[in-house]
């Protein structure tokens, strides 16, 4: 009860502070966002409510995250928004891979290529249907990703372990040549540009400070779109993890014979996992095409697939926070590595600096495998549990 009161007080204080602002329209939007946030938070703090309404809890969690990040994105620089967008796209891809590995126990070394399928599908669709809404292009990418996932998933019913990994590896390596073979569609080495750049709607431009350039407004708008899309993907995935499908997948992962005895069709479960996973990767790719307003084949080379795999392991396999942490690492890896290089005074073309990305990812990967097999998310969860236990003991 006291908690709800505190939230209500914080909310009222926020409303008062906001109303004092000169820009009334900004205040209204903020009040709406805050009201939503506070209302959901008030529900969220109650453990009994959470236990009674698992789906609604997940929804509240998702809306709160999207809401908070959405408000913040309006106040940060173009470059931070760019990192946010990159991180969000990668989070979606990682959700897909996390589902495949964490739930069904299959390994994919080709998720960079699945991402590329979505990226190119969205670009090709947009180039042939210049006036179709963004949602349609994203859906087209999801369908394309799912279709390719299905095709590659079929052999997955017969292959296992390293053979399956080898097949996805082959796809990742061949992806560039496949794009080149269809260069009249994919634009060959130059890639594709979208016919029209996404621009911010009138109401958002009015909300932002008048000194903001159209580019800054468009960047904020793209962040909002990315966050909403990610929210939908996140909500669907969190339910899937907890659903019958998710449970049967985990059974397949842990003991396939037991799963078969329990009535789970192994081939079906494996293909379904592949399709869902590829569709998520494609959605992430389509989103980054939208954000970059273009797609280039070099982006979806083999190295990306390995990066994605490393990010998943470092973040935490099979968990949603793990995917988010992976996305965050991806978004800030470039700028933090150049920061380290500058700080250490390394020659950026020297042997050490130019391999720093590989070294840092390698160390993180090995460190995660040795010290925290469930990644940063798993380690965090474990620490929190231990802390809670100790706290509990002392209280007693």
């Amino acid at each position: 009860m006291r908690a709800r009161l505190a939230v209500a007080v914080a909310f009222v204080a926020g409303v008062v502070a906001t109303a004092l602002l000169a820009r009334a329209r900004v205040a209204i939007v903020l009040v709406v966002c805050e009201a939503l946030f506070a209302a959901l938070a008030a529900l969220w703090v109650s453990p009994t409510w959470r236990a009674a309404h698992p789906v609604a809890t997940r929804l509240a969690q998702t809306v709160m995250t999207v809401d908070a990040l959405g408000v913040v994105s309006a106040f940060v620089s173009t470059s931070v928004n760019g990192n946010l967008e990159a991180g969000v796209s990668m989070t979606i891809v990682l959700l897909g891979l996390s589902f495949l590995t964490g739930s069904s126990g299959q390994i994919s070394l080709g998720h960079g290529a699945f991402m590329g399928v979505g990226a190119f599908a969205a670009a090709i669709w947009a180039n042939h249907h210049a006036h179709s809404p963004i949602v349609i292009a994203l859906l087209a990418a999801v369908v394309a990703g799912a279709a390719v996932g299905f095709l590659l998933g079929l052999p997955a019913t017969r292959l296992r372990g390293p053979y399956l990994a080898g097949m996805t590896l082959a796809f990742a390596v061949a992806f560039g040549s496949i794009l080149n073979a269809f260069s009249s569609w994919t634009g060959g080495d130059s890639g594709l540009q979208l016919p029209t750049a996404v621009s911010a709607p009138r109401w958002l431009v009015d909300l932002l400070p008048p000194s903001d350039s159209p580019l800054a407004a468009a960047t904020v708008w793209l962040s909002q779109i990315s966050l909403v899309v990610a929210g939908v993907a996140l909500f669907a995935m969190s339910n899937l993890f907890a659903s019958r499908v998710g449970r049967s997948m985990r059974l397949v992962r842990d003991h396939d014979v037991a799963a078969e005895l329990a009535g789970v069709s192994l081939p079906r479960a494996r293909v379904v996992a592949f399709v869902i996973s590829a569709a998520y990767a494609a959605l992430g790719g389509a989103l980054s095409t939208l954000v970059n307003n273009s797609v280039s084949p070099a982006t979806y080379g083999f190295a990306l697939s390995i990066t994605i795999l490393a990010l998943m392991v470092i973040g935490g396999i099979g968990t949603i926070p793990g995917a988010m942490i992976g996305g965050l690492i991806f978004a800030y890896s470039t700028s933090s590595i150049s920061w380290i290089t500058a700080r250490l005074g390394l020659n950026p073309q020297g042997n050490l600096a130019s391999q720093l990305n590989g070294i840092i990812f390698g160390v993180l990967l090995v460190g995660a495998i040795v010290a925290a097999p469930m990644g940063i998310a798993g380690a965090g969860r474990q620490l929190a549990r231990r802390w809670r236990e100790r706290h509990h003991l002392r209280a007693n």
Partner: protein, 444 residues
């Protein structure tokens, strides 16, 4: 339990307070300046270039050499009272992977440059990378000047009125080399190895325009080179040998040139190499063979250049050396006897071009008036041919001469006549008589 709830509430409250703080500080700032990136004392420009990653070897010097020119003019009073501030962003050639610091994103880096703001992007490098930002820069009305690539994509003034190329197109280059082949190496068997993109395709187009049909035509994938190294090229070169080609024409980047030369060396195959300017720079190509017990295998190869060779008598050579010697920050090991390699000359070439147009634009200019001046001013730069654009032609340079690699550090001119040709199917070459052989007084 109570404690947890209270903490959570406190966290929420502080998050709310934080939000409010952000809102208050986000007050609208002052009016934007008349021309973005231009103040009373400074012009800010930027570029995305590969300072690290697979394409950085050699290419990382290009923008730094241009910046050496800017530093030179800045230390001599600037241009029309303004100094040039050049921001470089490392986009790793847009190719992620080992050897590249991070996950390159040309689009995001370009957005950062636009919001800096910069007056223009100048000398950004790469065909696919710059293709990916041309509509972005066009819609933001930011000029995209002197793209470092020989693709034809930069000469499309109708769709991209603020986009300008600089170096001769791959087709023009191979047409001039093709003309030389027809004249001096006629009736010899020629094999072609090119990069599997615009570079190889446009280069081959130029040869075909000159009625040259290679015995073998092989297109390589740069990714295969990354994973397979020189071994990836061995079967190609073996095929050229078994088809007894006397001439091997390469449309390759420097690393690929090295792989081809090494494969041939292993087979004891010594054809007449003809190499595109993109992958023939003697210093860059010789580097991997520096410790080998045999002479640089590139010696004797024919290539094309639109810049003065370091051994040519050209007043720009002394000037370029002076500028590089003055820049101790980016060229600390450059001495009076260090050879000026092709990448340095290339960067200084468009560096002078930007400084020159900025001078011609006068003290008061906008983006539109600057581009108008570009379209109507012929400029003397280190390139052999005076630089000239027009309202409809944004290609830039179109002429050069044939040179022969003479040592690990230099090339000599085979024929000092500078030729130009049209990128169309015409088979004729035109002599360029008015050359850029004087360093303007304001650069001294």
């Amino acid at each position: 339990m109570q404690g947890t709830v209270r903490r959570r509430a406190a966290a929420l409250a502080s998050a709310g307070a934080l939000l409010m703080g952000v809102v208050v500080t986000a007050a609208p700032s002052g009016a934007a300046p008349a021309t973005p990136g231009v103040t009373a004392t400074q012009v800010t420009i930027g570029a995305t270039v590969p300072l690290t990653g697979i394409a950085s070897q050699g290419y990382s010097e290009v923008a730094k050499a241009a910046n050496a020119v800017f530093k030179w003019v800045n230390s001599h009073g600037g241009i029309n009272g303004r100094k040039i501030n050049f921001i470089l962003k490392d986009d790793c050639y847009g190719t992620p992977g080992f050897g590249c610091t991070g996950n390159p994103n040309t689009v995001q880096l370009t957005k950062e440059l636009i919001s800096t703001p910069v007056f223009a992007t100048v000398g950004s490098l790469g065909t696919p990378t710059q293709d990916s930002v041309r509509s972005l820069l066009n819609s933001a009305h930011v000029p995209q000047l002197f793209v470092n690539s020989g693709s034809k994509d930069w000469n499309n003034a109708r769709v991209y009125p603020t986009l300008y190329g600089w170096q001769p197109s791959y087709t023009v280059e191979s047409k001039i080399l093709g003309w030389y082949i027809n004249r001096h190496l006629a009736n010899q068997r020629l094999c072609f190895l090119g990069q599997n993109d615009d570079f190889g395709a446009n280069g081959l187009l130029g040869l075909k325009d000159m009625r040259i049909n290679p015995v073998d035509t092989i297109m390589y994938d740069p990714a295969g080179l990354v994973t397979g190294g020189a071994g990836y090229f061995a079967p190609f070169i073996k095929k050229f040998l078994s088809d007894s080609c006397q001439i091997v024409y390469l449309d390759t980047i420097p690393g690929a040139t090295d792989a081809a030369l090494a494969s041939a060396l292993q087979l004891g195959y010594h054809p007449q190499w003809i190499i595109s300017s993109v992958g023939s720079d003697p210093v860059t190509v010789a580097a991997p063979f520096a410790k080998a017990p045999f002479p640089d295998p590139e010696i004797g190869a024919l290539t094309f250049t639109y810049l003065p060779t370091s051994t040519a008598t050209n007043p720009w050579n002394a000037w370029m050396r002076k500028v590089l010697l003055a820049d101790k920050a980016d060229f600390p090991t450059f001495t009076a006897s260090t050879p000026i390699d092709g990448n340095m000359a290339y960067g200084e070439g468009w560096g002078v071009a930007f400084a020159g147009y900025l001078k011609a634009a006068g003290r008061n200019f906008t983006r539109a008036s600057f581009l108008k001046v570009m379209n109507s001013t012929t400029l003397m730069t280190p390139a052999l041919q005076p630089l000239r654009y027009s309202q409809t032609n944004h290609q830039g340079l179109t002429a050069g001469y044939i040179v022969k690699v003479a040592s690990a550090t230099s090339a000599t001119v085979v024929d000092p006549t500078v030729y130009t040709t049209s990128p169309t199917a015409a088979t004729t070459l035109t002599k360029v008589t008015k050359l850029s052989m004087t360093v303007p007084a304001w650069l001294h």
